[in-house]
Amino acid sequence: MSILSKDSPGKKTLFMGNEAIARGAIEAGVQVCAAYPGNPSSEIIGSLSQVAEELGIYVEWSVNEKVAVEVAAAASFAGLRGLTAMKQNGLNVASDFLFNLNLTGSKGGLVIVVCDDPSALSSTNEEDSRPYAKMCDLPLLEPATVQEAKEMTRWAFDLSEELGLPCLIRSVTRLSHARGIAELGNMPKNRPNPRFDTSRPIIPQPVMLTHKALHDKIKKCQDRFEESAFNLYRGPERPELLVVTCGPGWMYVREALANMGAENRAGIVKLGTTWPLPGSFLMEHLKKANRILFVEEVDPFLENNIKEFCAQRAAELEVKTFLGKASGNLPDVGEINPDIVTGAIQQVLKVSYEPRPLQYTQEAAEAVSLFAPSRELGFCAGCPHRATYWSVKNALAMDGRDGILLGDIGCYALGVRPAGFGQMKTCHAMGSGIGLANGFGQLERFGLNQPVLTVCGDSTFYHAAIPALVNARYNRSNFLMLILDNSATAMTGFQPHPGTGRTAMGAEAPVVEIEGLCKALGAQVEVKNPFDVQDTTEAIYKLLQDREGIKVLILRQECALVRVKRQKALYKVRVNQEQCIGQECGCNRRCTRIFKCPGLAWDPVTGKAQIDEAICTGCGVCADICPQSAILKETI
């Protein structure tokens, strides 16, 4: 029984921000939801998929974010309410459609949720998605609390329908993954039947007219925003400092002022509707003070837009001092937090504030640096990627021509770190690995002697790799593509994909076979088990010698976390304590120092390697790397 589907209006419950967004969509009567997994957005469609059947709605995991928006948009075009959710990078993927969608407009309420990841806690890049709203001229809402996340989402569908425009909601990690109290609203009553009016084609042409119409819609939106309760002011009538904020900044600023005892010195303008700007509302409050501090996540979006606004209306305002990222009062990169905000306000208001004795701070810092060893990220015990990178390392060393491994996104992106023996040399967007391989694979004509390889996960393959593979065949690029098929979208939480045989709603699904696709595209295809290190190394080495065309090596082995749920181990692995020569091993503890599987531990007391049976998942790979043949594996 999920809180998402509970029909108890007025009940207050702890929601995750993402769940609150999902609940808001449900209360608004959403019928079609589509997304591609991406941290910190995955739980939105993830939680909806759990209750989809019960609520009679359709939820799917799409292969990429562009398709996902299109799926939701289709529902909207047919008069139903559609929702899509993605991380910051997803909006980039979907942007081409977005720049046409704004001109064509939508019909049924359409809400696009984008969850940014400031400080890239689980992303490859840091990005502020909000400028898309300004570029596309679409309404933008930024919830500051879990309750707001639900309410804004619910309202966004009505707003979208009224304006005939998709509505953007921007969340960040600290909201999406936070839990707070939200009150359940009413469940929807009726839901329309879909129908597409073929007498009214949905096209952006003639652009001069639709673009103008878009501007008119945005002006109308602005009027709605002026009345919105999501924008508010809290503080004295004549504050020394005005703090303009949105998102989680709202809560940080309030707490900072309270802790410093400065609540009567600063006033807070909280904006929930951040594009277009509610001009009259802003005007009223900007007149209250001449020093204005902007607190927001990632880019100076509000900061710059409000400065622009003030320039436009300068005649009505006194001279302002703007403080924020441009002035250096707040860092221009990375996540904000209560301490950064406190520090900024402290600096501006010249408040003396010490949260704790300085001596304590120093002592604690010293203790941690001495007694708290850091936790380096690594592959799980039994992860096929560790075995794959081991084979790549050996094959490239044997080949000796300084091969280039171009990487992509997923758990295997850890290949840039010691966990993956530093094999992965580039990492950008989904499918960039094979994209770059296309380019590198053409450079031999200019004298590039280094063999080109790329690594790509199964989910990544369906998302973005296929067009690049077609390109490689057509333009005759020469490289080796390793597809790491662990039958999972592992990094984001094991969502199903076209290779797993299940849909988001748990139904059986046809498997879209990777081998078949690659063969049809004219690639030379081989399939190996990465746990068979000798075999895999030889296969990689051999394929590297082939200088013609695209070679695809599918390394198929289930993700360890998935496998251990079903069966404990493939092998019983142990270290022969007599055979293991411990510290005297010629390669200086190659097994533990380099291979670094958490199931293979170094016992400093005996000076030998040991298998930690609690962690080892019995993949047997370490048995093949010991130069002394001291690690033994027995089939179970």
């Binding site: 010698q545 020569i581 005297e584 010629g586 390669c587 200086n588 380099i594 130069p627 043949s629």
Partner: protein, 335 residues
């Protein structure tokens, strides 16, 4: 060259490698109890011409089946319990193989002239604690084994169990991948059954393919595939083994056998006595050729080292005096 970011000050890889820090004098003392003096073909007790008596051993053999016969005999007599020989796949890719029964020896006959990671099989075994092991190897492999037995880093090297080392003559070895690719192309994709390099003045690589066609490939065509390391090798006749076996110039079907240690001499004597090996005295003329060929390889190696600026401080420690003697004797033998 650093393997896997190793931070060891002294590693076994470095200590055992035949191309790092070779102190020939020390090794020779440890193995034979004497200084390194016979700079032409190494220390020896006898040089003979020999061949395996049993025709089956000569059938698939490279030359005369001598190595096969000796190892066979040693196993049967219990001088050794197991052996490490080199086995080739159908595609002539060589690997070391652990042999325990005389029948398995046949699978290891023939040469592909390609460098083989034979000692990997010695390292991996698996071996029982009390087994005595015999190894057949090329001069560099024999050198590695001797380095293992004299190294101060000695740990479980198995050398305490290696009782018999048979060395093969070797002028150079080829790198497998490019060589095979070239050769396959050269014989129009036919399956290669046997490779044989003929002695001077011909110097051809004779390739016998499955369709019974014999191809003659001039050696110059395959010189590009000779391993660089062979250019600085000073050992043609496997001077550190118990006994060494190679071809006889100008005489088909017989091998040169050089006995060096007491064990080597004893094994050959017993094998002859048992009728396993037939032997003949070694012609004086052939001895001259043997010396000449061996010294020529040394001279080439020294010149190569000199060109690399590694004559004095290269991988092998040689006194000026020794270098001088080798060069002058090579001159003399050549003229």
């Amino acid at each position: 060259m650093k393997l896997d970011n190793c931070d060891l000050a002294e590693g076994r890889c470095f200590a055992y490698c035949p191309r790092t820090q070779v102190d020939l004098e020390t090794i020779h003392q440890k193995v034979f109890g004497q200084s390194y003096l016979n700079i032409d073909i190494g220390l020896f007790k006898q040089v003979k011409m020999a061949r395996a008596s049993a025709p089956i051993l000569r059938q698939k053999a490279q030359t005369a089946g001598v190595v096969s016969a000796l190892m066979n005999f040693a196993l049967k007599e219990g001088v050794i319990n197991g052996a490490v020989l080199t086995h080739r796949t159908a595609d002539h890719l060589p690997r070391g193989r652990v042999i325990r029964s005389p029948d398995e020896i046949l699978s290891c006959q023939g040469s592909s002239y390609v460098a083989s990671p034979t000692l990997q099989a010695l390292n991996q075994g698996p071996w029982e604690d009390t087994e005595r092991i015999g190894v057949v190897g090329t001069p560099c492999q024999v050198l590695a084994m001797r380095k293992m037995s004299v190294s101060s880093l000695k740990r479980n090297t198995l050398m305490d169990r290696v009782t018999l080392i048979v060395g093969l003559f070797c002028t150079w070895a080829l790198t497998y991948e490019p060589f095979m690719k070239y050769l396959k192309n050269r014989v129009n994709g036919a399956q290669i059954r046997k490779l044989d390099i003929t002695p001077p003045p011909e110097r051809l690589l004779k390739v016998l393919t499955d369709d019974d066609h014999m191809w003659d490939v001039p050696l110059d065509e395959i010189r590009p595939f000779i391993r660089t390391t062979c250019g600085i090798c000073l050992d043609m006749t496997s001077e550190l083994s118990d006994l060494s076996v190679g071809t006889v110039e100008g005489i088909q079907g017989w091998s040169t056998v050089i006995t060096r240690s007491h064990l080597g001499e004893e094994i050959l004597r017993r094998a002859e006595a048992a009728g396993i090996i037939e032997s003949q005295p070694f012609p004086e003329e052939n001895f001259k050729h043997l010396r000449e060929a061996s010294l020529l390889k040394k001279k080439r190696a020294l010149l190569a080292l000199k060109e690399r600026g590694e004559l004095e401080n290269g991988y092998i420690i040689l006194s000026r005096e020794l270098i001088g003697r080798i060069l002058s004797e090579a001159e003399e033998a050549g003229s």
